[in-house]
């Protein structure tokens, strides 16, 4: 397990699930010449925190039956909450991998992992309890969120997602004047966490002072 700012602790995920997810998210957003990927950005910690929170149990979503499958246009109709989706899907995918390759997903060769992810995405793996595409889509959505949301949530560590984009995070009060500028503006990103923790000072209106990037 990789270290994380919360001390490598997990609220909801269990160890085999962490191993599965670390392997999977690293293929979705890999470490490459542009910098760290989703695993090192803390995306698994992000997913864990989300599953442990109210979204993980669909606290603000409609939870009453009857539960019918519906059309793609009708959206999320699973009777499982995200917590249950991750727990059930990872167990069943690992079971499928053991039956087919004699080892769980996390222990497959990288190329075989990518092939498995593509098969899940294409809904080609028949899992006993849910659609593999349904799980894949949720995993991809959460991976994207974890890589690009505020580091406050455990992902986007060191703001690697924002640095990849050139997104400066919290706005500077200079934006009012910069609105019409034709010159690219490159500042070191500032997060909610940076301001909350006092790491980055703010001006009288509460805006951080941006430090311009050397380019």
């Amino acid at each position: 397990m990789s270290d994380n700012p919360f001390g490598a602790s997990y609220l909801y995920l269990q160890e085999p699930e962490v191993r599965f997810l670390e392997a999977a998210v690293e293929h979705l957003i890999p470490t490459d010449d542009l910098g760290p990927g989703a695993r090192d950005a803390g995306v698994v910690v992000y997913i864990d925190r989300q599953l442990a929170g109210s979204w993980g149990s669909h606290g603000r979503n409609y939870r009453m039956g009857p539960w019918l499958e519906g059309t793609p246009q009708q959206g999320y109709q699973s009777r499982f909450t995200p917590q249950e989706v991750y727990r059930i899907a990872i167990r069943e995918i690992d079971q499928h991998c053991r039956t087919t390759f004699d080892r769980p997903f996390a222990q497959l060769r990288p190329e075989a992992q990518v092939e498995m992810l593509k098969a899940l995405e294409a809904d080609k793996i028949a899992l006993p309890s849910l659609s593999s595409k349904f799980f894949f889509d949720l995993l991809w959505r959460n991976t994207d969120e974890g890589f690009f949301s505020d580091p406050l949530y455990g992902g986007n560590r060191d703001m690697v997602g924002w640095k990849l984009l050139g997104f400066p995070g919290l706005p500077s009060s200079q934006y009012r004047e910069l609105l019409t500028s034709h010159e690219p503006y490159h500042a070191e990103p500032v997060s909610v966490m940076d301001v909350q923790s006092g790491k980055v000072p703010v001006d009288a209106q509460g805006f951080p002072r941006h430090v311009m990037k050397d380019r």
Partner: protein, 587 residues
């Protein structure tokens, strides 16, 4: 258990958004006792939407607690009557609000008036193209309003919401720099127009080269410090992004919280009751008069609030549902075409063209406050649609929304969905893309409607609203044409590649599109095809007014909020000036 009965008031208002807040303000200012009931919480701008926490895309855009709590109450949806409608279990295509301040607390500040054409669409289409030009299953109908009578109320709303813009038509005289196709205005906007971004200047140049007239479209985010009609101060927008679906931390975006409530809450004859879920409008034994409303308060008690006048000023869905739950009016039946409540539900068409550059870099995160450069040549009645074979139109704009990192990462067509190639495409294009959005009309059809779901219930045991809706050929043809015109502008911009989005053949509830849901309790001249008259007064119950997007007979291209605000001012005036002097049917 019988309901606790409160002391009677002059007016009870359901909902505290654009309609509820403005109507409460207007009627309480005229001396009437007003109680406003809101299902959501009371928020404090200085605490709940304070920096730095307000700059959080995940919290406000994805997992927001200022949107409707679907665990308590959602709607069911199906594309057509042969399917089984299923609940919208998570927030998708639209985001109705739930807070004191309503949906508009998180709107995008797009403050466009409709065009005079939009209010008389059926007559104007029949006049120009003949009756047969309108699809047989289309419920296109006029609003029963004349431009000249409502223009002062647009003006009033703009002076409450501090709208910034440049007039294009002052009393019939076309003005340089404004929208030449807009309806005649009695005077200039209260605030100056937004300034043009780099992307806006490129769009304007390309549009001009094709013979169109670009202009800075109106915005209700302050373009300067401004004190409004209610003597409330709002400060100039800094364009820090995090705008639509967020509440502005600077109080620069006009909405009920910033523009109305500071003045309204000071009135001694006004009371706001938050966390109150209205169950129904009560009627007397004749069924012709409303006696008040019944609601569940924050502690779970059932409360009856008697009132001389009842105003439903909630979201399109809630207004329609409360009429159905209260047994007011005749529910629409698509098999016979009879009945009016739930009829003419419509949405918003649209799409975008993305232009990817190799040689230009933008600052897409600077924006918000509806900074936009627009053209209106394809809107309303400007182009001849006879040879094109569709009704309706669209406006195009390039707007600086403040590209947020989760949802604002366009990649060129053909890019894989994930992996290293996707990552490279995201890094390459985030700062090198601009987009032109198309905002299109959506007509109303016999098959698209709202009624009560036969199966699914809310947390209070009441049936959910059921939406039956799909796109029709007219809208798909219209958007195909718009996409061709928009792509021409895109090519004239000189990018290396074009991409874009459209809504597909079938409406899908998955993925945010727009919170522009309209109809269900529409206004009109004929009680057999409308729920309320031109003053938003129920045809069946004369002391009940149903005001909001629910009153739109169909959706014009321009966003709905400005017209919802105008209708609130218009209906409030009808009550103050006419109804209270002579209660009864105004038409």
């Amino acid at each position: 258990m019988s309901a606790t009965k409160m002391k009677e008031v002059d007016v009870v208002v359901v909902g505290s958004g654009v309609v509820g807040s403005i109507m409460s303000m207007e009627l309480a200012s005229a001396g009437m006792s007003v109680v406003c009931l809101e299902r959501g919480k009371q928020f404090d701008l200085g605490i709940d939407f304070h920096t730095p926490n307000v700059y959080d895309e995940l919290k406000f855009d994805r997992h927001s607690d200022i949107f409707q709590n679907l665990a308590r109450d959602t709607l069911t949806f199906r594309n057509n009557g042969s399917q089984t409608a299923l609940p919208m279990r998570e927030m998708g295509a639209f985001k109705p609000g739930e807070m004191v301040g309503g949906t508009s607390a998180h709107w995008g500040a797009n403050a466009r008036r409709f065009l005079p054409h939009d209010f008389a669409m059926r007559s104007r289409i029949e006049e120009r193209y003949g009756r047969k030009f309108i699809p047989e299953d289309c419920n296109l109908q006029d609003w029963g309003l004349d431009w000249d009578e409502i223009e002062p109320y647009y003006d009033q709303f703009e002076n409450i919401f501090g709208v910034g813009g440049k007039a294009g038509n002052l009393d019939g005289a076309i003005q340089e720099g404004g929208n030449p196709h807009e309806g005649p205005r009695s005077r200039e906007y209260p605030n100056p127009p937004t300034r043009q971004t780099y992307q806006g200047s490129l769009f304007a140049k390309a549009a001009r080269s094709l013979g169109y007239v670009p202009f800075q479209g109106p915005s209700a985010a302050m373009t300067q410090d401004f004190r409004n009609l209610y003597r409330v101060q709002m400060s100039q927008c800094i364009h820090g992004g995090f705008c639509s679906s967020h509440v502005c931390s600077q109080g620069a975006k006009a909405n009920p919280l910033t523009a109305v409530l500071p003045a309204l809450m000071r009135l001694p004859n006004f009371e706001m009751r938050a966390l109150c879920n209205v169950l129904r409008v009560n009627k007397d034994s004749t069924g012709k008069k409303a006696t008040g409303v019944t609601y569940i308060d924050a502690r779970g008690n059932e409360i009856e609030q008697p009132a001389s006048i009842v105003i439903l000023g909630a979201y399109c869905f809630s207004n329609t549902r409360l009429l159905l739950l209260s047994g007011i009016g005749t529910p629409y039946d698509p098999s016979t075409g009879k009945g009016t409540v739930g009829r003419n539900y419509a949405y918003q068409q649209g799409g975008s063209v993305e232009i990817f550059f190799d040689d230009k870099e933008f600052n897409p995160f600077i924006g918000g406050g509806m900074v936009n450069t627009s053209i209106d040549e394809f809107n309303g009645d400007v182009i001849d649609r006879g040879p094109l074979g569709f009704i309706g139109g669209a406006y195009f704009d390039t707007s600086a929304r403040g590209a947020a990192p989760i949802k604002g990462k366009p990649v060129p067509p053909g890019t894989p969905r994930w992996g290293s190639e996707w990552k490279h495409a995201v890094a390459q294009n985030y700062r090198r893309t601009m987009n032109i959005a198309m905002h299109g009309t959506c007509l109303s059809y016999k098959q698209n409607y709202l009624d009560l779901d036969p199966t699914y219930k809310d947390a209070f045991g009441q049936p959910l609203l059921r939406m039956t809706f799909d796109w029709h050929q007219n809208e798909l043809r219209m958007m195909e044409y718009m996409n061709e015109r928009c792509s021409e502008i895109g090519r004239a911009l000189g990018g290396s590649r074009l991409g874009g989005k459209n809504k597909g053949t079938h409406f899908s509830i998955v993925g945010y599109q727009s919170t522009h849901n309209v109809g269900g309790a529409v206004m009109g001249e004929d009680p057999s095809t409308s729920v309320v008259n031109k003053y938003l007064q129920s045809w069946d119950v004369s002391n009940l007014f149903v005001v909001g997007g629910s009153a739109f007979p169909q959706q014009p291209a321009n966003g709905p909020t400005e017209t919802i605000g105008m209708l609130a001012c218009w209906a409030a005036d009808a009550i103050k000036e006419n109804y209270v002097k002579r209660p009864g049917a105004l038409v």
